[in-house]
């Protein structure tokens, strides 16, 4: 009864939310019925409710000869993105918020967003120009006498993770900083004045006022980022990878694409994708609980 009363009281809000709820139901929940094919040997055009094979597709993935290589690559690339790519926009937002010149600040801010809108195809082309055996970097290194012959940055797997992490950072850091900049802009200016009166310097203000105020945002985004820990990229690997680097670039998503979609094993691809999503969901729930317990901040 309480729920009904509450619903009645908040009916205008519910009415306003209705289009979004419908959208989510239609495009996010309705297609999920297709997940049943993860437990079947599905053939396109045939019934969605036949040919059940239980957990065979999941077992098959764990028994794949490349399983450990794929999991290792996925986790390493994701962890690098999380360790470097997650704090970088916070740092950029803090630095930008300290800039006094509005023109300079706006210019840097706008320039930092640009890479986000460049497609990976173009980024790959830029990287080939920079890092190819005849690329600018090798040319400079050879010209300065630091190396005798070009380094095969794109031709040797050992460089792949570093290149990918750097490219992801360059591409996303500006755009990801927007949310932190808006969180910082919402901090009451009187807090800074009070801090200054109490003798805080610039670092003190950041440490004692800015960071605590944006903590909720940081935690929220961190929890969501944990949910995507198995999303290590897809286009990047396909565009920058080559047979030379396969041992370092093959991740779950590229594997699902090649063995699931390209070979027509949709059930297998769905099973691996479902497993990935379930791990992501578990991580989000766990991180949310830990955050609620230890930091009194959570997203649900």
């Amino acid at each position: 009864m309480n729920y009904l009363k509450r619903f009645s009281r908040e009916r205008q809000l519910w009415l306003l939310s209705l289009p979004i709820i419908l959208w989510v139901l239609l495009f996010a929940y309705y297609p999920m019925y297709g997940l049943v094919i993860a437990f079947q040997n599905y053939i396109p055009g045939q019934s969605l409710f036949g040919n059940w094979i239980g957990f065979d597709n999941f077992v098959r993935f764990f028994n794949e000869p490349d399983f450990w290589m794929i999991i290792r690559n996925t986790l390493v690339i994701s962890m690098l993105n999380l360790l470097i790519g997650f704090p970088a926009p916070i740092l950029l937002a803090l630095l930008l918020s300290e800039v006094k010149s509005k023109v300079f600040k706006k210019t840097i801010q706008s320039l930092s967003y640009v890479p986000y809108f460049i497609s990976w195809v173009v980024v790959a082309s830029i990287l080939f120009t920079l890092l190819g055996s005849d690329g600018i970097i090798n040319e400079l290194l050879v010209r300065f006498g630091w190396i005798d012959k070009p380094i095969l940055f794109l031709g040797e797997g050992k460089y792949f993770w570093g290149i990918l992490t750097s490219a992801n950072l360059w591409k996303d850091v500006g755009f990801s900083s927007i949310i932190y900049l808006s969180a910082i802009a919402g901090i009451d200016k009187e807090q800074y004045e009070a801090g200054r009166v109490d003798g805080l310097g610039r670092f003190g203000l950041v440490w004692h006022i800015t960071l605590p105020n944006i903590r909720a945002t940081i935690v929220l985004l961190f929890i969501l980022a944990l949910g995507g820990i198995l999303n290590a990229g897809f286009e990047q690997q396909l565009l920058l990878g080559s047979p030379n680097t396969r041992d370092y670039h093959e991740v779950i998503d590229t594997y699902v694409y090649r063995f699931g979609v390209q070979l027509g094993n949709y059930s297998y691809g769905t099973a691996v994708g479902l497993m990935k999503s379930l791990i992501g969901l578990t991580l989000v729930i766990t991180a949310n609980r830990l955050s609620r317990k230890f930091m009194q901040t959570s997203i649900f």
Binding site: P44, G45, Q46, D134, G155, N244, R246, G264
Partner: protein, 558 residues
């Protein structure tokens, strides 16, 4: 009506019938390739065009999806004029559609949604088996029996190899037949080769020594960038690159037709160590395995490569076709010439594998309202004159590749031929006007049966007339071979399909690792390691499967 009127009317009707019958026979006999010989329901009064095609009374509609990636705008531009011509002259409304997406995904979407056209072209065996299992495509054998005299005549004994165990025909082959033109070769920068006296190249070592000498003479290009003796790009086919050591499409065949993968042969190891030598000595382009064709084209046209291994057209496209336009002092010797050699112990080199079975298939779906009429037209396109029309496009225009006078008499358009031989033919512009090869549904790419020298590819008809193509052909003709029976299909339901993909992935990565090894010992170790890994992963099972299929195919043609 008076008696006089009745007699006059009957006489006129008899005359018309006689004339039309004569006309039909005349055209048909001249071309010798009319379709619908078995059609007993055709009305007596029919119009027969100059190609001997009996125009259907109701327009035959063939709107087909071609399961190959293609830019829809380009396709529409190219087919528009030819579509109109065929509609006007043949009463056939034929239109192709393709999309810029993975065709496999589009076919699956069609299958799930039930939204697919009457005809689908370029389906592989795996897709055919999928569509057949769900009853979405029809058996063409009864239609071919009734309306496909040309199909049966031209395919000959090969026809039986397309039937399944129950004698059913699920698809008509596209691009079948033997076309003895080279694909894969070794290439050499011709003017530089002449400069050092054009020493004879008979073995891989000769090729290595010559390229090394050339690079010693031309260590850098005009911009001071390092030149390389050997290069290729990510399109390189490992199996073909090992053909110089006598391996056929990557396999060694013994007297009993057993096939052994190159990884399990001494020849395979010798080949990889050969390429590794180039790498170790700094003679190989270090980006050979990551060069996409367009990037490689820049490097190539910047005159940084002395030797190349790959399809013949790559060094044309990236070499003299660019230099002709950019170099004001261009001389015709500045180009790459294709050549072949073989390892001393090899019986011969096998570089261009020809699968005469065809690229893939055209199917008619259960949505076809008039499959008989569709088959009749496809049958016409398989006749020699029909193949010429479909392959070379609209005749008798200034932009046409050929002229057709009727009565089976045809000739090439000498102006276009000369433009081609001069290397100045603008294919895109010309083919927008004539529509050449816009609707490749069932006809062959092999030599046509009436003269045994024409082919549907216009530009491949003049190899003997064109100096450089003739040189290429003379150099490498012995390396072209028919490997039709070595074809193998990995369908979705085949349990070895995944294993095959896993082994291919492993081999691709391992191939690079062996070639990029820093010493011969390391390369040899990496090769052995790769072989053991591949065998553990199931390479032996794949060898066995391929051998069984090969023997099965050989038995079929006997």
């Amino acid at each position: 009506m008076s008696r006089k009127g009745s007699v006059l009317g009957t006489a006129m009707l008899a005359s018309v019938m006689l004339l039309s019958a004569c006309g039909g026979n005349s055209s048909g006999n001249n071309s010798g390739n009319t379709a619908s010989e078995g059609d007993s329901t055709t009305p007596a009064v029919e119009k027969v065009n100059e190609f001997g095609w009996k125009l259907p009374q109701k327009t035959t509609q063939i709107h087909f999806f071609q399961a190959e990636k293609g830019n829809p705008d380009k396709i529409n531009r190219k087919q528009a004029a030819f579509h109109d011509y065929l509609l006007k002259e043949f009463n056939v409304d034929i239109q192709r559609s393709s999309l810029d997406v993975d065709p496999k995904e589009k076919l699956n979407l069609m299958l799930v949604s039930g939204d697919y056209p009457e005809v689908i072209a370029a389906m592989d065996e795996s897709q055919i088996s999928q569509w057949k299992a769900q009853g979405k495509i029809i058996d063409l054998a009864p239609l071919v029996d009734k309306y496909g005299p040309n199909l049966k005549k031209e395919l000959g004994s090969r026809y039986e190899t397309y039937l399944d165990a129950d004698g059913k025909l699920w698809g008509l082959p596209r691009g079948w037949g033997y076309l003895p033109i080279p694909d894969f070769t070794a290439h050499i920068r011709w003017d530089w080769y002449q400069e050092i006296g054009a020493p004879e190249i008979k073995t891989p070592d000769d090729y290595y020594n010559v390229l090394k000498q050339i690079v010693a003479k031309h260590p850098t290009n005009d911009k001071g960038e390092k030149n390389y003796a050997l290069s290729w790009n990510s399109d390189v086919r490992i199996d073909s690159a090992l053909g110089f050591w006598g391996l056929k499409d990557g396999y060694k065949e013994d007297g009993d037709h057993n096939l052994t993968h190159w990884l399990n042969t001494a020849e395979g190891k010798e080949g990889l160590l050969y390429y590794n030598r180039f790498f170790r000595e700094g003679l190989m382009d270090p980006d050979a395995f990551i060069n996409k064709f367009d990037d490689w084209k820049i490097k190539f046209s910047n005159e940084r490569i002395a030797g190349h291994i790959g399809p013949w057209w790559q060094s044309w496209n990236a070499g003299h076709e660019i230099w002709q336009k950019t170099d004001p002092d261009y001389k015709e010797d500045k180009r790459f010439v294709q050549m072949a050699f073989k390892a001393p112990d090899a019986e011969k080199a096998y570089l261009s594998a020809k699968n005469t079975h065809g690229w893939n298939y055209t199917v008619i779906t259960d949505k076809a309202k008039n499959a008989e009429e569709i088959i009749k037209f496809l049958d016409f396109t398989v006749s020699p004159i029909g193949t010429r029309l479909m392959g070379w496009g609209i005749p008798n225009l200034p932009e046409s590749y050929w002229n057709y006078e009727g009565d089976g008499k045809w000739s090439f358009n000498e102006t276009q031929k000369q433009t081609l031989l001069d290397g100045k033919l603008d294919f895109e512009k010309t083919e927008t006007a004539n529509g050449s090869n816009s609707f490749w549904l069932a006809y062959p790419q092999g030599l046509l049966s009436d003269d045994n020298k024409s082919t549907a590819w216009f530009d491949q008809n003049f190899i003997a007339d064109e100096k450089w193509k003739k040189l290429m052909n003379d150099n490498v003709k012995d390396t072209i071979y028919d490997n039709t029976e070595q074809r193998v299909s990995f369908t979705n339901e085949n349990p070895l399909t995944i294993k095959n993909q896993q082994v291919e992935d492993l081999v691709k990565t391992g191939f690079v690792k062996v070639i990029m090894s820093q010493s011969e010992d390391e390369a040899s170790r990496n090769f052995d390691e790769l072989r053991d890994k591949a065998n553990k992963l199931g390479l032996k099972d794949l060898e066995q499967y391929r051998t069984e299929e090969y023997k099965k195919n050989l038995a079929l043609v006997k």
